[in-house]
Subunit: 368 residues, 4 copies
Amino acid sequence: MSVQEVPKESLKAVIPDETERRLNIGIIGAGRIGQVHADNITFRLRNANLVGVSSGSRKLAERCSLAHGCEPYYDYHTLIENPAVDAVCICSASNQHTDQIIAAARAGKHIFCEKPIDTNLEVIDKALVEVRKAGVKLQVGFNRRFDQNYRRVRDAIIAGEIGSPQILHIISRDPAPPPLEYVKNSGGIWMDCAIHDMDMSRFLIGSEVEEVYVLGAVNLDPAIKQYGDVDTSIVTLRFSNGVIGSIDNSRQAVYGYDQRCEVLGSGGSIHINNNYQNSAVISNSSAVKRDLPLNFFMDRYTDSFIVELNEFCDSVLNDKPVPCTGLDGRAPVVIALAAKKSYQESRPVRLTEVDLPLPESLVGWDGQ
Amino acid sequence: MSVQEVPKESLKAVIPDETERRLNIGIIGAGRIGQVHADNITFRLRNANLVGVSSGSRKLAERCSLAHGCEPYYDYHTLIENPAVDAVCICSASNQHTDQIIAAARAGKHIFCEKPIDTNLEVIDKALVEVRKAGVKLQVGFNRRFDQNYRRVRDAIIAGEIGSPQILHIISRDPAPPPLEYVKNSGGIWMDCAIHDMDMSRFLIGSEVEEVYVLGAVNLDPAIKQYGDVDTSIVTLRFSNGVIGSIDNSRQAVYGYDQRCEVLGSGGSIHINNNYQNSAVISNSSAVKRDLPLNFFMDRYTDSFIVELNEFCDSVLNDKPVPCTGLDGRAPVVIALAAKKSYQESRPVRLTEVDLPLPESLVGWDGQ
Amino acid sequence: MSVQEVPKESLKAVIPDETERRLNIGIIGAGRIGQVHADNITFRLRNANLVGVSSGSRKLAERCSLAHGCEPYYDYHTLIENPAVDAVCICSASNQHTDQIIAAARAGKHIFCEKPIDTNLEVIDKALVEVRKAGVKLQVGFNRRFDQNYRRVRDAIIAGEIGSPQILHIISRDPAPPPLEYVKNSGGIWMDCAIHDMDMSRFLIGSEVEEVYVLGAVNLDPAIKQYGDVDTSIVTLRFSNGVIGSIDNSRQAVYGYDQRCEVLGSGGSIHINNNYQNSAVISNSSAVKRDLPLNFFMDRYTDSFIVELNEFCDSVLNDKPVPCTGLDGRAPVVIALAAKKSYQESRPVRLTEVDLPLPESLVGWDGQ
Amino acid sequence: MSVQEVPKESLKAVIPDETERRLNIGIIGAGRIGQVHADNITFRLRNANLVGVSSGSRKLAERCSLAHGCEPYYDYHTLIENPAVDAVCICSASNQHTDQIIAAARAGKHIFCEKPIDTNLEVIDKALVEVRKAGVKLQVGFNRRFDQNYRRVRDAIIAGEIGSPQILHIISRDPAPPPLEYVKNSGGIWMDCAIHDMDMSRFLIGSEVEEVYVLGAVNLDPAIKQYGDVDTSIVTLRFSNGVIGSIDNSRQAVYGYDQRCEVLGSGGSIHINNNYQNSAVISNSSAVKRDLPLNFFMDRYTDSFIVELNEFCDSVLNDKPVPCTGLDGRAPVVIALAAKKSYQESRPVRLTEVDLPLPESLVGWDGQ
């Protein structure tokens, strides 16, 4: 039995086929999600190679790069400027995203950026302008689009298995609330939690949301009220193609991470259920029961993180459209802003009330 | 974008913690299952390191070792004798298993061996004698023991969630029959397919099978009859603790790989269902339906292959009991032999009728 | 084999226990729902006796009374005034309900009245004033309250099985739309369909609705628009106890009658599914599927019609509170009126905007 | 409110259509199952009329006939000889069945007889000889054939929805064992419980059982052993069309009445599940659970008792084949006898070993 040394070079096995190419990626940000992507690039993706990990925290940068056999960087600019880097994967705090997008775009590097791009539309648009100008690819990390359950819903709709969509319901409840300190700076339940569902609603229905109305409630900690936030919410949606829908969010479903949706169409309906650790059903003298659903987003959505990055690499390597563009990253922010306004003013809010006019240089762009 | 070179050294990332140790493994056999283990050791196991892959086929040995960044070996003896190798993972054809076990044991190497050890009890026992003499660990690859569903059944029984077990049913059906050529040399449905279920029945009930009775039928290809084999079978089991049970095998369930079981106990029952690609349910004007269950054993049991090897490494590194011993590998072979005899003679067969007396040097051994 | 004569007397078997009493009921209205109640009283209720059936249609009155071995009446006043009648079961067209309630109340007869009492609050209140003055029992026929699935939800909430309710979702979709002619006079989807769900929401949550907001869409027949109606609707609800919720209605779910609900509480959630003709699951090479849910409200809610009338009889015979009072019949009408206004004005509407002040003589009344 | 008198005449409502005919039935035996049939004839069947109920117990005869508005009889011969009686429904103890069948047949009355006809083949055959000679209809009360779930399985097989059947599994477990006193005289688990499943296996597969093998165990009360009986059993079946199968019986499944089956065919599989009181699913912090399945055979199979008698009446009134003939009643007895022998001798038993040659006068008869 040996104590292993640390190989500093690339650690990913390859079949040395001359035609196989890999995208050389640098990760910016070494927190939880950065580590997830580092792991996936290193151990699971055939078409990616991890060049380095940068973090403002020297310790995190070192720990994460060592664990994945690559170089640590203490300043993201250095990483971006490394000519060996083809693309960056931005996993930093949300308020740093656009600076890093802009830096990468100017350096001609392709960009995978965690959601949300930012919570300020003006700031987002400035970044998108740079992306378009640079002609680099930008994919936003709405990972649930790559989950097998949601994909099946989307596929069913596209294939006409349920006819024309008419009603959408999304249920998206967390197993437990984050600390109050986090909630305070989270941008509120709509920008923080529901934004995934707002993206999902556009993704599934294939149409833009025009108007929202929000019912909110505080059930867990009254202190949350002082931040203008809630822990329980129903957002209703009206889409431009006539579909109507609702998004149900809660910061706490005691039975676990509850992630379901349902679409009624003219030809039928489709719904997806939660994922479980096992399929065992136990019947005893008091009940027929099974274990709780998977409790943590990393367990529930494990594969989606691999698939999204795999598709990003494929998009860049083979010059295909990215599956979730910068404009796709922008749109749910508008919905979240409208939701907050609706809650504050207790009335339906049209998205045009909160949206900004697109910068001229983005007009007509499809995000690719 | 770069075309990658092949790093020949270890490819697994590590956190360079002095206390972290890895088991250096050599794989013997580079077919399908050998490649699976190579992948898992290289990319998924924190406590293992792949030293080399040997195969009688020069092409397979090279292809597999290159893909996993290790050395190819064209003779398993060389691999076994490599002092860098702590343990071997035997993935060759079944009839080569015991020679390789014996060679490894004599070289003092720990052994993970795919199932079945062999189909001949005399041959098995000769190998076990060497293993015991050498004092090395031997784990047999009944991977389903490490599947989350079956584990949940086992755990429920041990925890008393269903009281004392009384009846066991296992359903284990393949999606499609193998080629007739394969069937011919497979040892028959009981040695080839049902052996997993025979192991599972011992694993779940925690007691030895004493008697079997077999009903068999040929439904797919009459040619199968000439090999004394069937494609459809019900094996009934009587355990020494009084539990009774059945194993249902079919070479073809057109809806996919059907792997379920159920145990009735004095305090309740537990059953497990198939695994599915997604949880989507579609209702249209003709039916409420979902997609078929996972169709291939590698999709259904993916994780179990990782867990079994992880536990093997843990057993060796930390000198713990292995979770599936050589004797556990021997027992289902006895059941399969009895099943075949029962089918041939159309009568219940006690296992003592087909079993051999254990070699003296194995008496009293618990396989650890 | 005999051709049967028609026994004109009571046709219900009894165990001639001196203490067993029956409520003598006259049915007003011999359409579909009148026939259902006649059947249940005659053949299924131990505590009821059918005295007669009245209908403005001579043919219907005769046909229904003959079929149930009782006397036909061609004028409901005659039936009400029959001293043998203890109670009436009003099954006529909605716009006749209150006249008949008033006549029955003045005659001192107890009243079971189909929903809705009326669609005009002023008219409803006039009837309730008479009911209260007469001191007779009035139960409104919201039969779903008596369905085993919804009862289980209610019981779970009351027993604290899911803690304090936080979010309610009701899905209530018809298998096929009624004829346009019917829709025209139906009072709209909220007064006609959703009113059941508005009652259910109060019943389950045990609190009053304070505000509604409605999203509506026309997906089936554009002609429906000209009546100010829709065929697809989401009504959001805000309850006075802080619960928020949604009601999803569609005039057409092609897979059948879709009747589900879900409540999230602080301690868990409960949801109920559709009822099916059988539990068979068929797996073939294309899907795992089952037959469609029950397609017709009479199949889905068969038992609830029996239970509701049984409880009405029990209330009267043993002077217990009725399980669904006149005020319970009034409240969903207010919600439906608010829903229509919300749809017309595209804004949340508080119920106080459409409600009338209760007549002085009803203030403080609990409906019993 | 009135205290009801007891109408002694027919109590069933009719639509006085000249063409509607009813079968006048006398019930022999006023125990539990006799009361069920009396109730169904009186209150639920449009095509039947209850003439009288006979019982050796004066009290039971009176109680049951009064409850259903018909005449009590204290001697079944008197009931049979009543010219108003078209058919008898035999609900007495099993050992009286054949005497009553013979008496009814000789009187030219059609016969519905509860299962089993008898447990002695010679006795059964004597009765069948009389039935055939008299040319009356005889239907045996295997009610599960009329249950919607089992019917769906049968229909699927006949319609080819699963191709050619290959494997059958029946699970049939009672919620609690009967008193030891009952067990003693029950004829054993195979004649008492499993006989339903033996009928079901022939019904579903549409082929005769040729051989059985039985595994039995005593898990509940060791005293049961002294009667040569068991409380837990697996019977394997080999059908003449090549299908193989198993029947799993237990006198006690603590979670309720467990009634399921599954058939694998060349084109797919079908399985049916238990029936539940409600469809509610509750998720809390410890499990996802639902209430237990229906616990009592009368709740589970309520409708089947109505349907079987309805079809019997239809057979007689319209001279159609009965859906479960005297020969269908005889066949499961042979299987049960073979099962007992198999258990006693611990070996597979062919049915020809226990069967008697059919009396000459029954040869070639199809039971109609």
